[in-house]
Amino acid sequence: MADLHFLANPARFRRFSRRVLPALSIVTAVALAVGLYWALVVAPPDYQQGDTVRIMFLHVPTASLAMGGYLLLAALGASLLVWRHPLAALMARATAPVGATYAAVCLVTGSLWGRPMWGTYWVWDARLTSFLLLFFLYLGHIALSRAYDDSERGDRAAAILAIVGAINVPIIKFSVDWWNTLHQPASIMRMGGPSIDPSLLWPLFWMMGALALLFATLVLLRTETEIDRRRLEIAENQD
């Protein structure tokens, strides 16, 4: 939190991000390029799934990162409500759409994967369903933070939602698991093979890192634009 305290001031954040962003963007681009090449070209096709397994390299990292992103959102909400850090609001605004996009990418890649694997785009599996609900929590956050003229009000309302949502995510997950074990699903499906071959595991780890870097880059970039937008808003208001 000490870092966050230090960066709470938008001007200081500006200086920080100016210094960090260029390097970060380059590293991200290189990591993504290497990762994609590794995942799409170098890694061997799966003996069962063939080339469709390559979807995994996008699917699995976006899933974990979207879940982690919601925790970040809740932390930002708490630091807005408790310490009134002005930057936390702007960062939350920047984070939510990125997280939602990651969640959407995971859903879409999962569906595309599901078609060849299960013969259908969607099944009401516990993990899929609870992830879908997480996506809705993101959407609610985005909608709420934009529902007011006074953007500061939207920020604080969304912060309350993020915190309550974070408490609820485990409960939702638990209840959905319970739900699906009660009724056995009709289709035969299990996510992932029994074990993943190292030749797939390493590119997966790499992609995880690269997409995490991308997440950070996007959040920083969007925070900058949010700062600009807020500045503009204030300037406009000053008549």
Partner: protein, 221 residues
């Protein structure tokens, strides 16, 4: 440009100012649809069997929820008086407002519904029929809901009671909407259902604007 067009555009512009609003209605539609499997259980066969009913029900909820403020906002901020004092028939104003509502809810719902139908395991033909029935049926929902919204404006008991009557008016639309999809799923023809649905929409279009206008005049008193 005529006053009616201006009213229609004003309402669209009010929505445009907050594009999130449309997204919210659609998101609500999606969430509501998702809740049913959670309540009922994940069996694919069972879900495909009741998908039509669920999707139509969720569409009804989404349009009713968003209708709540159709006239209430105008009533509370005094804009309703300006509509009552506009130099053209109030029936047209009612129509314009319902049309604007349909354009930002019914229409997107009809486009979005097939995507959800996929999750319920509907086949391609049923998906098409689903979109068609929503396209034809939702105008009636907007009008009926508009009547209920007008009746409950500043209502005392009478208005609430009439709104109670308006809800069952949605039932025929729902029945024919859902059964058209089912008919198509079981391979029967769905054109009859669709035709009846169209007829219901036309009847609503021909009668309800008058009822809504009458209810609005009451509210202005």
């Amino acid at each position: 440009m005529s006053g009616v067009g201006a009213l229609f555009l004003r309402d669209l512009r009010l929505v445009w100012r907050r594009p999130g609003d449309v997204a919210v209605v659609l998101a609500f539609f999606v969430v509501a649809t998702v809740l049913f499997p959670l309540g009922i259980g994940p069996e694919t066969n069972l879900l495909a069997r009741i998908a039509a009913g669920i999707l139509w029900c969720a569409a009804l909820f989404a349009s009713l929820l968003s209708l709540d403020h159709l006239f209430a906002a105008d009533y509370e901020d005094g804009s309703l008086d300006l509509l009552l004092l506009a130099p053209w028939p109030l029936e047209l104003a009612a129509l314009a407002k319902c049309a604007a509502h349909w354009a930002v809810t019914g229409l997107p719902l009809a486009i979005l519904a097939p995507l959800l139908g996929v999750a319920f395991g509907l086949d391609d033909r049923s998906l098409l029929v689903l979109a068609l029935t929503l396209l034809v049926g939702t105008p009636a929902l907007s009008l009926i809901g508009g009547l209920a919204a007008a009746l409950t404006l500043g209502a005392r008991r009478g208005g609430a009671l009439l709104a109670l009557l308006a809800l069952p008016l949605c039932v025929p639309t729902l029945i024919f909407g859902a059964s058209a999809i089912e008919a198509s799923a079981t391979g029967e023809g769905f054109m009859v259902h669709l035709a009846i649905l169209g007829a219901l929409a036309l009847v609503s279009l021909a009668t309800l604007p008058w009822a809504i206008a009458a209810a609005l005049r009451q509210a202005g008193e």
